[in-house]
């Protein structure tokens, strides 16, 4: 349902910057979410099918960005990054398999 992708990013959500990022209207937008201090940089974000999300682990310990529905599971050792290309509209909960209290949601619209 989803596939990995590597593209230049258009918007960045820094650690702790919980305000909604601004996107251009261009297709295939790119959002970077930093993980730091045991938190995802955003708790909820709305995206469109065709957008790409990249998680960057800036924390001390290894994390994952794992879809609750099992559609992806990105292993993120310290200092590593991983992306997912969003295809299917819907709401998706993402959590860390190692630290299940770390949760965020993605709302993907057409």
């Amino acid at each position: 349902m989803s596939r990995f992708s590597r593209r230049a990013f258009l918007a960045t959500v820094a650690s702790g910057a919980l305000a909604r990022p601004s996107f251009s209207n261009a297709a295939g937008r790119y959002l970077v979410i930093d993980i730091d201090k045991m938190k995802f940089g955003v708790s909820h974000i709305e995206l469109k099918a065709g957008d790409t999300v990249r998680w960057r682990n800036k924390d001390l310990v290894r994390h994952t960005a794992t879809a609750r529905d099992g559609s992806f599971d990105i292993d993120l050792p310290r200092g590593e990054e991983g992306s997912i290309y969003l295809v299917t509209p819907g709401k998706m909960e993402v959590y860390c398999r190692f630290h299940p209290g770390m949760i965020m949601t993605l709302s993907i619209v057409e």
Partner: protein, 174 residues
Amino acid sequence: MLKKIFLSLAFVLASAGAFAQDAAAPLNDARIAHIAYTAGQIDISAANLALEKSEDAQVLAFAELMARDHAAVNEEALALLNRLDVAPQENDTSAALSSQAREREEQLAALAGREFDIAYVENEVTFHKTVNDALQNLLIPNAQNADLKALLETGLSLFREHQLHAEHLLHEMN
């Protein structure tokens, strides 16, 4: 069962006692760092024992996580102290923690199978709860350096996750 409850209770009370403030040697950053580092090493040691003794996949996964996370935090603590040019200072609290942990580990080492698994995870619940209480109420409020305080706060968030994880695992095992 009664023996297990008594051992857990004794450990909690003893650990809580270890964190009592010593008026003759008040907490400073060097002592706080030593206490936090010691607590991390204690949990790594317990995790290594579990990795050696347990055959339960969930317990092994949990122990592996404890060893990895606590090692990462302690590595960062040492790097921070190096940057600050502060040497961790041994103190009565860290010595008491180490002594109690050795005793507890000997008790754990004498157990086997499911009895070991449950005792290990119970110990993880009580140990993290005690350390988290100490971090929140004693170590973080007394830390002076902002970077040390921030590291302890991140540690507290991480160790609260560990405590929840251990509680959940224990619930599943019972």
